[in-house]
Amino acid sequence: MAKYLLLKHYRGAPAPVNDVPMDQWKPEEVDAHMKYMHDLADRLESNGEWVEGKALMPDGVWVRYDGEGRPPITDGPFAESKDLIAGWMEIDVDSFERAIEIAGELSAAPGAGGKPIHEWLEVRPFPTPTPTVTE
């Protein structure tokens, strides 16, 4: 088994095919989207492939140490150009191919007009544990 993080971006990812902001959708399209996401998470859980899902708020700041006896420097809110992660789903699957398959399903979530959003998602592997048997 290998763990992967599927990352969703508020901004910074290439534009999706069906690029209509949610507040312009019809109410039933929002319902369909929410249901699709819940169902997918349920299915991964019953498959034994789900680890966790988390969302992040869009606000935040940069912070760095500013030397002895001084408070840390903050810089924010984030510039419009910053790549901004919206949330992630962690999965534990048999292969890289399976991770790609699941990310594809996630990206097919319906949006405006009930058509798939084709959102770009980032798939990132976690480091694997060092194997016990090495030769």
């Binding site: 949610m22 507040d23 312009q24 109410p27 969302a55 708020m57 869009p58």
Partner: protein, 390 residues
Amino acid sequence: MTVDSPELRDLVPRVLSVLVARGADFATAEDAVQEALIRAMARWNEKQPVDRTGWLITVAWRVFLDMARSDAARRERELRFETEPRAGEIPNDDDTLRLYFLCAHPELTQSSAIALTLRAVGGLTTRQIAQAYLVPERTMAQRISRAKRTVSQVGISRPGDVRTVMRVLYLVFNEGYSGDVDLAAEAIRLNRQLAVLSDDPEVQGLLALMLLHHARRHTRIRPDGSIVPLADQDRSMWDTKLIDEGIEMTYAALGRDRLGEYQAQAAIAALHADAASIEETDWVQIVEWYDELLRFADTPVVRLNRAVAIGEAIGAQAGLNALSDVGEQVPRRDAVAAYLYEKNGELELASRLYARAALNSPSLAEREHQMRQAVRLNRDLNRSPQQTTP
């Protein structure tokens, strides 16, 4: 017969306060009481003792002595204790109340005070508390043992007061019920015990406030986690028994003529709970109570809620005027502004504000809720020109 856990845990503060009163150090005594609880769970299913508190005190005391003996570093302290305590000690309410104060001690950080209260007064296990707050058990165990060290050092000289206890219970209640442990119900249970020990009307006010919100909770959230606004809640599903108790308690507290912020909040909740429909809500009185509440707690959140109430009592424009006192950065301000602009017929502006409120919502359920409001308004805006020109 099975041992009912909350009923068993009701005995915890008295047992612990007896051990501490006998001179046991707080941290070890607390561990001993937890161990006694585990033994009670195992044993009482077969046979319940007649004097359950006495049983717990005896077992906890023995466990405490074993712990004190087995720990070489504590050998010296052991010498201070006789093997058997004096007979006939009865825990008194003041000792138990002091235990509440200790666990919510002002020297503790808020998260530590919450964790320690749930364990030492509530009798929950570290694992249950960790699950409820979605942190690893190890993290919660460290938080609790640091808190115990802190109160062992500073506690006795400056014991804290009932205000800090109420603050802790209020925060626990607001955490709701995310995991296996129903924190809202736990806060109510602890607040009921506190109300027996303390005659501060604010304790009654807080308990009333909790009961009145608890009575409505199943109608506030749909099974899928989405939010149902007050106007759309199914009032026939509200728990009328809890509401009656909450309203009665509110009046009893107010009748003692020592108003405070929890009583004012309870009065507002009582007016909502007492209305047969949203239209029958006495918004004028609610605004008056918000004005009272401002005297005790002039916070942006209170001003925000007051603006909503004014919007209902007088009109949307008056509500918007009241909103001008509230800073732009206050969470949920956009959502309230959107609601009032919609009420005022400014639908495009309302829709934009709902969309912005969604982006800034502090919780996912609220984000979805505000987004749906924006979507609903946009649908109406797109539809209306087509309807006028068929």
